[in-house]
């Protein structure tokens, strides 16, 4: 478990690459279109592999770091922004300001992070799976590959974790 956990030193490298790529995607595309998440991680992976391949154990290792750094960055910013808006009070940012209008229900990113932390205590594998899928943008198949389990197991875990998290967030979610 510990050896494929993200190495903190690599987080900024991966994030910087993701950010740079995403920014260029966002600029190239018309507003209103969603950028292709998978393409983003793939491209970042290819670039960073070409650069210094010895840093990455394998693709799964890279995806885990990408997902984890994305989670750290987003949560940190959501907290900072919430604190800014509310003058330092309870930081809360809802995930409804994106390019995908109206499709996903709005919820609280910071609360999700906290709920994910609780899930980690109960079932570390499911929590990692959510991190890869939601923060890393991996598909079911990619997640299966990264975690070295079958796609069917990923689906089962995903369904359960999703329901569990939805219930945990129910208090915060607008009906």
């Amino acid at each position: 478990m510990t050896n494929d956990r993200p190495v903190d030193a690599l987080l900024p490298v991966v994030y910087e690459e993701l950010r740079r790529l995403a920014a260029s995607y966002l600029r190239r595309e018309r507003p209103g279109q969603t950028l292709q998440p998978t393409a983003l991680v793939h491209e970042a992976y290819l670039r960073l592999m070409k650069d210094r391949p010895e840093r990455w154990q394998n693709r799964a290792h890279f995806c885990a770091i990408a997902a984890h750094s994305m989670r750290q960055i987003l949560i940190e910013r959501a907290r900072a922004r919430g604190a800014q808006k509310r003058g330092g009070a309870q930081p809360r940012v809802t995930l409804d300001e994106g390019l995908v209008g109206g499709e996903s229900p709005s919820f609280d990113l910071v609360a999700l992070d906290e709920a994910l932390g609780r899930l980690e205590q109960i079932d570390a594998e499911q929590a990692r799976l959510v991190e890869l899928r939601f923060f890393g943008g991996l598909t079911i198949e990619e997640t299966a590959e990264a975690m070295n389990i079958s796609p069917a197991t990923v689906k089962r875990h995903w369904t359960m974790a999703r329901a569990w998290l939805a219930r945990e967030l129910a208090g915060d979610r607008p009906v």
Partner: protein, 497 residues
């Protein structure tokens, strides 16, 4: 939760989700008979299980791209075109600001990364370009000069003079601006706005946070040339931050109407009032402020006096709700302020005023006075009680009347003390209402106590002298001390000065 329990929950959840509604219910009911807790847990998970609602299906960064990527640069040392990032120095609705070095000219600049809407939306981009071009033509010592509007790596950046110092917001944190600095500061600010208005540019978001006091003591207005979103832009109204700052917006801007130079004049009035007094002219809380602004109610500051009295009519004219009564632009404001300096109004304000009391301190003494007097008057019935021993008939009547009057007086004084604590703006009105009753009661009390002293004089001189002391103290207070403390605390000042 034990791993075993979690496994049971998972198993039952998956078995149930594969069944149809009726079979689900049956299985759960059956489970509940042996393990009610397990059945309840799975039931609540089922309620949250909505495969089609899209929850978590979009990756986080696609749902919140602005949160993930709206800061194109975050690291010191990064290069953006010819600019090297030194550090982030601020952020707001209009993007992140960096201190950067222009490597071609080797000079420090402020680099403002503008939100991506400006690159993607041609209308907003065009408007921004137009405003930036006009603002770049402005050169005035009180305005931070704009150097360039650059598109670098596909994003827009506004490059301007880097102003070092602290914002007037920070300066206000330590209290109002000292008398001798006030007028020059206001003249600098009005001068900057006047130059912009002459060039046809409106700032639209003039506030202490956008003004920096440089190390040489002069002030500079930041953020000219940034096109604000029109009020009809729903994304920005939802956000509530990009439309300017409510406390500095005149009623017409709050109402979403078009703005012109008079918007800045209003904001200037608010800022100037704040700088002069340390308090916002429309009240302390945001709710109160908005209510007053929307109703366009006149400045309600009660225990506040401008350090330069002649400034007040000028600022009040800036703050008029009616556009036609306001100064048409900052130019005439500047002229009036300069005239004020020339006519020597300033010496009134300059600090060598050793006898001037701070109204806040005076208010404290006024409160002490109320409390002490309440105690003195409360002791009157006690003193009168002893008169009965020497003159039972008259003594009883005197005691009862004194008790009644003292109750009125003490209750009123405590009420005023309370009002000054919890509802200061109404103190003046409240005092005006109750003062005649209170003063009348106290005057009669003084007379009655002197009469009591006369009754017992000779029998018990100790009691007589206590009575005389109380009477004289009360009358002296009523006639001399109270008017003085009240005036010092400016509680009796006229409303429409």
């Amino acid at each position: 939760m034990t791993p075993e329990r979690w496994r049971q929950i998972n198993d039952l959840f998956h078995r149930v989700t594969e069944l149809d509604i009726a079979a689900r219910e049956e299985l759960l009911t059956r489970t509940a008979q042996t393990d009610a807790e397990l059945a309840a847990e799975v039931r609540s998970l089922l309620a949250a299980h909505k495969p089609e609602d899209g929850f978590l299906e979009q990756p986080a960064w696609a749902v919140a791209p602005t949160l993930a990527f709206d800061e194109p640069l975050a690291r010191a040392g990064a290069m953006v075109g010819p600019y090297r990032i030194i550090k982030e120095i601020g952020r707001g609705g209009m993007g992140v600001v960096y201190e950067a070095e222009d490597t071609r000219l080797r000079r420090s600049v402020a680099l403002k990364a503008l939100p991506s809407e400006y690159t993607t939306d041609p209308v907003r981009r065009e408007r921004l370009t137009r405003e930036a071009r006009a603002a770049a033509a402005l050169t005035h010592p009180s305005i931070a000069t704009i150097f360039a509007l650059d598109e670098l790596d596909g994003a827009l950046y506004l490059v301007s003079e880097l102003v070092r110092g602290e914002t007037l917001r920070e300066e206000l944190g330590r209290g109002p601006i000292a008398g001798e600095r006030l007028l020059p500061t206001l003249i600098d600010l009005a001068g900057g706005l006047a130059a912009a208005h002459d060039a046809g540019i409106v700032h639209r978001d003039f506030k202490p946070d956008n003004i920096v006091r440089c190390t040489d003591g002069r002030v500079k207005i930041l953020d000219f040339g940034l096109a604000r979103a029109p009020a009809s832009d729903p994304r920005l109204t939802q956000d509530g931050t990009a439309l300017g700052t409510p406390g500095y917006m005149p009623p017409e801007q709050l109402a979403g109407q078009d703005v012109d130079a008079r918007t800045d004049v209003f904001a200037f009035g608010v800022v100037a009032w704040e700088l002069a007094t340390g308090t916002h002219p429309f009240g302390a809380s945001a709710a109160q402020m908005l209510e007053h602004l929307l109703e366009g109610r006149a400045v309600t500051a009660t225990a506040v006096t401008l350090p330069i009295p002649a400034l007040e009519p000028i600022l009040r004219r800036c703050l008029r709700r009616d556009l036609s009564e306001r100064y048409p632009s900052a130019g005439p404001v500047l002229q009036d302020l300069q005239a004020l300096r020339l006519t020597g109004a300033q010496p009134v304000a300059t600090p060598p005023r050793p006898l001037e009391t701070n109204p806040a301190t005076a208010l404290g003494w006024w409160r002490v006075h109320q409390a002490v007097l309440a105690v003195v008057i409360a002791s009157m019935p006690v003193a009168t009680w002893f008169v009965r021993r020497w003159n039972p008939q008259m003594g009883s009547w005197l005691f009862l009347v004194v008790l009644a009057l003292a109750t009125i007086s003490v209750a009123t004084r405590l009420n005023l003390l309370f009002t000054s604590r919890v509802n200061l703006p109404h103190l003046r009105d409240q005092r005006r209402r109750v003062y005649p009753v209170m003063a009348g009661a106290e005057a009669i009390l003084g007379v009655l106590l002197l009469a009591s002293a006369a009754l017992v004089a000779g029998d018990t001189d100790a009691l007589a002298s206590v009575l005389v002391t109380l009477a004289v103290a009360t009358m002296a207070s009523l006639g001399v001390i109270e008017p003085a403390t009240t005036a010092a605390a400016r509680i009796d000042a006229d409303e429409g000065r």
